[in-house]
Symmetry: C2
Subunit: 415 residues, 2 copies
């Protein structure tokens, strides 16, 4: 079995060739991958059934088993996803930012692949295909490290991708899977800065935190989503109710679901009983600050630990604030800089909120649930970044590229 370093080095070598592949060639590759996946559906299901059997015997939870499952339907979804990516424009090669200098130099930027991308993820084997396809479309080679419980499925999926690479005459090192299921392989992978240009971890916060702290390669961090809705004194209360309920209950287990409700004191007396009723109708457990407790009947008091917390569940904590400034201060202090919204009819307050809330996506009069590459019209999503460098918010194809300076001279020298 090849070592982590050998795989990383293989990916780097392949990345140099892939970086210069034409859009037509890359799309032919994706088409071939889709066809091979379809052809090999039964083999994938067989490998997945074995992984599931072992996971079940090891006593893994029902949620994990569900994430691990790849049935015909999910494989068909993966294939449909690839067809969508084929249709997306290829950002690589775009030239922009032209400047002409007094000495005659013409300086431009050219969009180029990042090079080699390391993806570290957990139980979902569909990430093996989804992430690889986005990387390949943007000319990036990829080193994969999936969850140990999905190793059988992932091995078959990567074999299929490699066979497609061979068919279109691209090096099969463009996609490598680390087969060592030991955790030490992750530690080794995130030190391969000589070969890997960026690490994108997808999974639990503890995994992401471990990687960010120990990697010598730049990491794009997908942090937690402790998202807020602030209902301003001038809000249309019907709109506010609709947005709060949607942001909380439409899919409570995801990072862009709302966890906290801040309400301006002027409207708390009318709005809180109404929204409490609406949320309870949807089985949301409410927790309130002291003033909320005095307005809403039968509500548990929120504790200090509630304000910074991401529930990912049908729970919402409510706080009354005296001003938009207090709301912004609360969000910037306790939030996770993911997605936050204001409901207001006051245009000035809306603009202030957009400007001053320090989050990846800030909304006026809309649900936080839209923070997503597809909803934002990027056509794809490799992840959602909550850090500030390179990419912030949903990351699509462009975020898998960088830009180099290209300079034309006429024998120009520096004096």
């Amino acid at each position: 079995m090849a070592t982590v370093q050998e795989k990383a080095s293989s990916v780097k070598r392949a990345s140099r060739i892939l970086a210069n592949a034409s859009t037509a060639k890359k799309n032919a590759l994706l088409k071939t991958i889709a066809a091979e996946l379809k052809k090999e559906t039964q083999e994938i299901c067989k490998a997945n059934a074995l992984d599931l059997q072992l996971a079940w015997e090891a006593g893994l939870s029902g949620v994990t088993l569900d994430r691990l499952t790849l049935d015909e339907n999910r494989i068909a979804q993966m294939i449909a996803g690839i067809r969508d990516v084929i249709k997306l424009p290829d950002p690589v090669g775009e030239i922009f930012g032209k400047r002409r200098r007094p000495n005659g130099l013409v300086i431009e930027k050219m969009r180029v692949p990042l090079g080699s991308v390391g993806i570290i993820y957990e139980s979902r084997p569909n990430v093996t295909v989804d992430a690889s396809v986005l990387c390949l479309k943007t000319g990036n080679a990829v080193l994969l490290r999936g969850g140990s419980e999905a190793i059988g499925t992932n091995t078959v999926l990567v074999k299929i991708i490699k066979s497609a690479l061979n068919k279109v005459c691209l090096p099969d090192g463009c996609v490598e899977l680390i087969e060592t299921t030991d955790r030490s392989a992750v530690t080794e992978m995130i030190k391969q800065d000589k070969f890997i240009d960026v690490i994108i971890p997808r999974g639990s916060q503890s995994l992401i935190r471990f990687i960010a702290e120990n990697s010598s390669i730049p990491v794009i961090v997908h942090g937690e989503g402790n998202c807020h809705i602030y209902v301003d004194s001038s809000a249309d209360l019907e709109v506010a109710e609709k947005i709060v309920v949607n942001a909380k209950v439409q899919r409570p287990s995801v990072c862009n679901a709302a966890e906290k409700l801040l309400v301006h004191e002027k409207i708390a007396g009318t709005f809180l009983p109404r929204i409490a009723q609406a949320l309870r109708n949807e089985h949301v457990e409410l927790r309130g600050d002291e003033r909320t407790v005095s307005i809403v009947a039968d509500i548990n008091p929120a504790e200090d630990a509630d304000w910074p917390r991401e529930y990912l569940d049908l729970v919402m904590a409510i706080k009354i604030v005296g001003s938009i400034d207090e709301a912004i201060e609360h969000i910037n202090t306790y939030g996770t800089h993911h997605s936050d919204a204001i409901v207001t009819k006051n245009k000035k307050n809306g603009e202030k909120f957009l400007r001053e809330v320090d989050s990846a996506a800030v909304y006026v009069n809309a649900s936080t649930r839209f923070t997503d590459g597809y909803e934002f019209g990027l056509g794809a999503e490799i992840g959602i970044s909550t850090q500030k460098l390179h990419a912030r918010g949903p990351m699509g194809l462009v975020e898998l590229t960088g830009a180099k300076f290209i300079v034309h001279g006429k024998g120009t020298i520096r004096v």
Copy 2:
């Protein structure tokens, strides 16, 4: 004395207020800093003289003593630099990338400060002012950690900046200096990911490497410059000579100086004796691969260790290549992805080189010495990034900002 964490936390708090300061306010701040520096020139010189005295007694080298020196002339240069930054456009607040979604959402991006920037640097105290000014102009608060030998000068400079912050009613936590001169303060600083958004190290490769490997905060790495000039078979040899000599000797101690010369075999017989003579006239020591040794008289053979090496000195290694592909392969293998140039009259080869050489700045018919924020027309330079995320190549004001998504809805919810 405040701890590193207290300083980092102070910077973060101040950054929230500074992020919302208007361009006029930020420019007033810079003007005040310039005025205060002028007023306090004698105090700065006094503190610097003491640092120099101690450094001299400690036996530091002449180069370090020169870097450490701040005389009236250098202070005047710093002040002139601030005046230039005042004139530059403020990128913060720019709105771009508008998309309208079928559901009515309007999604845009807004350019915002990164937040809080940690600068770790070595002996030059002018960095204290230069870096602070670029950060403040872009609404970023800054945590500084300078060289221990410059601590007296840096303390006075930061006192002056803080007094200017007070005068324009901005929190003086916008600029904090770590006063602990112990190396452990660096280790502590690069773990303050709760408070610091990005680390920009400036200094030796060993310092940068240590920081990249140990930081839990994203780092923008300024790597070495093992820069190449490839002289193609179709090159105008006069142009080639001019560019090679300029790139090698105009300032050999800097990262964008050329270290390697690759020559196409078809022209090696004519070009090599000519360029060897020209470089030797400028006191450049030459080292050649086997074929070069057979053409150029009295040249030392290059060793394997020469090809990946950055000399930062009047030394150049020469290699004969059989094709442009071999040149590109050599550069991508042994180079440091900083700045590389081709000299050619063949347009297709020029475009191929620009596309395929994986470096921050790639040139056709120009000297590599132009890789610099001022030369590229950015108006300023906080550093040169050799990594691929966020910023690649010279970094100006825009590279000290990020972008968040701002979204306008009309009570829009996700279905």
